[in-house]
Symmetry: C2
Subunit: 288 residues, 2 copies
Amino acid sequence: MNTETQMNTYKQQVEQALEALPMAGAPDALKDAMRYSLLSGGKRLRGILTLAACEMAGGNAQDALPFAAAVEMIHAYSLIHDDLPAMDNDTLRRGKPTNHVVYGEALAILAGDALLTHAFEVMAQSRHPRALEALGEMARAAGVSGMLAGQTLDVTMQGTEPNMDLVRDIHQGKTAALLTAPVVAGLMLGGASATQIEAGRRFGYHLGMAFQIVDDLLDIEGDPDKLGKSTGKDEEEGKLTWPACVGMDWARQDAADHIRHAKAALAVFGEKAAFLTALADATLEREN
Amino acid sequence: MNTETQMNTYKQQVEQALEALPMAGAPDALKDAMRYSLLSGGKRLRGILTLAACEMAGGNAQDALPFAAAVEMIHAYSLIHDDLPAMDNDTLRRGKPTNHVVYGEALAILAGDALLTHAFEVMAQSRHPRALEALGEMARAAGVSGMLAGQTLDVTMQGTEPNMDLVRDIHQGKTAALLTAPVVAGLMLGGASATQIEAGRRFGYHLGMAFQIVDDLLDIEGDPDKLGKSTGKDEEEGKLTWPACVGMDWARQDAADHIRHAKAALAVFGEKAAFLTALADATLEREN
């Protein structure tokens, strides 16, 4: 299977898992608000990473499917809360009005809370022997030393002087943590050794840092139609970005370096790393 | 040990576990906002239930301590988000300004998210053989068919005509679910049988329903100084309460009936049920 076909297969598996989430007992208003953001397209990169990492370690992607769905729910929750008026106050996401614009702030807060909680509910239903370990990896990545650390710095440091260490910390937390956890969790569920998991952790870190630098670059020079959101917001809001620290040319070079390191980390997986290697390369070329 | 001494011992164990949470890697601003609400007093009823249920089943309370801390974190998160301007817009809680009044809305949203996520991070570190099962119970109770269902109905149904079935659903979700889960999780960690767990589930349900009816009554006739918050808010906001459905006298009687059912459910535990029986009785007498 070539990379693109494989990518689409994984993506469809993730979409189907998300579509099929029962959310039994949820009031309709809550379910609607959750599904509005969860099923609004998106690259499904985090879910794909979970499945691909599981297979790279020799496992069965089916075992990783609840975790792929969970990480996409965690990602969706973070976007809903991020877009709230008290946070980034964004009204457009993937070409559609944001959650609070459609459902109001109260339901948007609850829908975010519900997606986060449901992610853990779904993972806890797994009977895989390493389920608790994989769930813990997701919790840590989404938690106070991961994504929420990044978000907090992003919110509280807005408007301060760009500083490479600080921006690295923000990017590590806000983006790299939640790209690393699905790789690590997928590897665990696929039966990976400690050495393989450490390699996966390095891969995820560098992939995530490259991904965020490209994000920063797209906010400056991207096409709003392809992105599904307006550009130039980072500068307007005084966000701490990598191009603001080192300039556009160096930022492009740094993204390429991170991808080089990401691919090098996969050496331990030999030929089985082909798909994630191609995915890493594609991260540099993406337009949305 | 008499009931009061036992209650204080459990409460101190919960407080110490919460005080000792490392929250390693959390930015100071986030940690401060989390600790402000988490360590602001409170009865620690949910944490106490976790430890007591574990011991009632013959287990060691130490095994249940991470879960006691976790359920208190989940409770604290729910209060922070509940108090937000877009939700109940409360400015006073336990006699102190609410989280968003002190830290601003953005950090209050993040602190709530972080407490919820940290609860799962802490539970996932347990190596107890039934940890995943107990964690799943907490997730379900906090989730779309539990607490978040109750909150959603509470928010979306405000101002509609009181209706016993609807109010029962709201109370079941918003309150009883998160009083039942610590009982059930504690029992699991203590090695309880399926029959014992079902008995604990009935106990938690009736305790929770009584607890919420008493809450509704205190909002009408309680002492604001003892409660640490203003009263009369439910009526002002058109909240759906049990006294609004059936009147004060019947509401008092229904609370007493729920406590009777709660205690009856504990029969299967024999003498070991003494503490939770006394705790149930105390729920009817509480003034805050």
